[in-house]
């Protein structure tokens, strides 16, 4: 199995990601000052938003990968395999990030608004994306592992994109005409800015590393299928 393919960078990315995370943690806990109103709890905010941003990107990437998969005509072609691998990788990492967002969100909301869960537009949107990712993985698991099953999952990822716009619009308006006062995080202080960008970068590297590793694993699975297949072809003669 050729290691030189573009998705061979897994291990390097993993090391890079760990370094970035350590730096980000340092920035969050030691550089950024305590936020005036929220106090120490505000420290959750950095990695929470970092995860949320990457979840959204993963969702968009999964949708685009699904679109390319459906458009590529030939079944076993290299392109359709790569995008299929990216599709499943972004979905799995998307679910992981979604779980993080949905756990850290309420912990932060507990202090910010005094309740564990509020139907605040962004949290609700994250919940919907998380559910769509779960549905994607369930489709891949139960709707057939052959090309048709992957096609259905890709279809969901594609239709998820316009759906996201409608969900976002509806959720914004759902709280009634007055969207709640949303805590912006007040990143005016340089220390906080650094912490914020460091943690967003860290989460991005973690996500990219996980996606690359999982995608490569999926491609190796397809390679394995080919090799088993060539064996099967051998017997026929």
């Amino acid at each position: 199995m050729n290691k030189a393919n573009i998705i061979g960078a897994g291990p390097i990315l993993a090391i890079l990601a760990t370094a970035a995370v350590l730096y980000a943690l340092y920035a969050v806990f030691f550089v950024a000052p305590i936020e005036a109103t929220m106090g120490f709890v505000q420290k959750i905010f950095y990695f929470h938003v970092g995860s949320a941003i990457n979840m959204m990107l993963a969702f968009a990437l999964c949708g685009v990968a699904g679109l390319v998969f459906l458009v590529t005509e030939r079944a076993g072609s290299r392109v359709s395999r790569v995008v299929d691998a990216i599709g499943v990788a972004t979905a799995e990492v998307g679910v992981t990030l979604g779980a993080i967002v949905l756990v850290t969100g309420p912990l932060w909301a507990r202090k910010a608004w005094g309740t564990w869960w509020t139907w605040e537009p962004r949290l609700t949107l994250s919940l919907m994306i998380f559910l769509l990712f779960l549905a994607y993985l369930a489709l891949r698991a139960f709707a057939g592992s052959d090309r048709f099953g992957r096609g259905v999952a890709a279809g969901l990822a594609v239709i998820g994109l316009p759906a996201l716009y409608f969900i976002h619009f509806a959720v914004q308006r759902w709280g009634g005409a007055h969207p709640q006062v949303v805590y912006k995080g007040g990143l005016n202080v340089p220390g906080m800015k650094l912490a914020f960008f460091a943690s967003v970068l860290a989460m991005s590297l973690v996500s990219v590393a996980l996606i690359v590793i999982r995608a490569r694993q999926e491609l190796n699975n397809r390679r394995l299928d080919d090799l088993f297949l060539s064996l099967d072809a051998g017997e026929g003669t």
Binding site: L131, L139, F142, V152, I159, F169, R173
Partner: protein, 224 residues
């Protein structure tokens, strides 16, 4: 022109089979009636605020009953492989999809004719503005049918179809339910100050975009 004729003949075939066996209508109707009764027990304990629950109950009933319908929509096509029987004829895929979606839409509307008046009765809702009330119901049901028919066709042979279908369609249909509840509550005279037409335009936009998206996807996904 021929695809219009195909659309008509497929729809007529579905309606004919349905009125002969009624194995989509009966489960939908019975399920929704049961749901309404259960909701009445659940919510009538507090008569003062009962009117607030009305719109929500209408839309939950419509959503669940339409899912029951979707689950069984392609059962006849699964028996004897008839979906492929249609796909291997010159009939266009969009005609097939549109006919099945319209079929499901009609079944759901029929079910609504039964249960919505009941809900209005049980929850003594007054409907000062019937226009938006019916508009939201019809537009919302269309949205449910479009998304539902697409994935009902795709999951026809899937093992855990009954679980997968709601899991896949509910997040996608969430905006329809939200918009539906909004308009229904405004139509029922709740004091909310929002303007109804914005949500109705939202529903129309949803239906148009998803009509195109589901048609295209049906074509691609069936062949992938």
């Amino acid at each position: 022109m021929s695809s219009l004729r195909h659309f008509a003949v497929i729809l007529r075939k579905d309606l004919a089979m349905e009125f002969r066996t009624r194995d989509i209508l009966y489960p939908m109707a019975l399920f929704s009636l049961l749901l309404v009764v259960v909701f009445s027990f659940a919510f009538l304990s507090d008569p003062t605020r009962v009117r607030d629950y009305g719109p929500g109950i209408i839309w939950v009933t419509v959503l669940f009953a339409s899912t029951v319908g979707q689950n069984r929509l392609f059962d006849r096509e699964r028996e004897n492989g008839c979906l492929w029987a249609m796909l291997l004829t010159p009939a266009s895929r969009s005609a097939i999809f549109a006919a099945k979606a319209t079929g499901h839409f009609l079944f759901t509307v029929f079910m609504e004719l039964l249960t919505v008046p009941l809900i209005i009765l049980f929850f003594d809702l007054s409907v000062p503005r019937p226009g938006p009330f019916l508009g939201a119901l019809l537009l919302g049901t269309l949205g449910l049918s479009l998304v539902g028919t697409l994935f009902s066709a795709m999951l026809m042979n899937a093992r855990m179809k009954e679980v997968l279908l709601p899991l896949v369609t509910f997040p996608l249909l969430m905006p329809v339910v939200i918009a539906g509840v909004k308009v229904t509550s405004l139509a029922v005279g709740a004091p909310l100050a929002e303007d109804v037409s914005m949500w109705l335009r939202f529903l129309i936009g949803f239906d148009m975009i998803f009509a195109v998206a589901t048609l295209l996807l049906f074509e691609r996904m069936i062949r992938s």
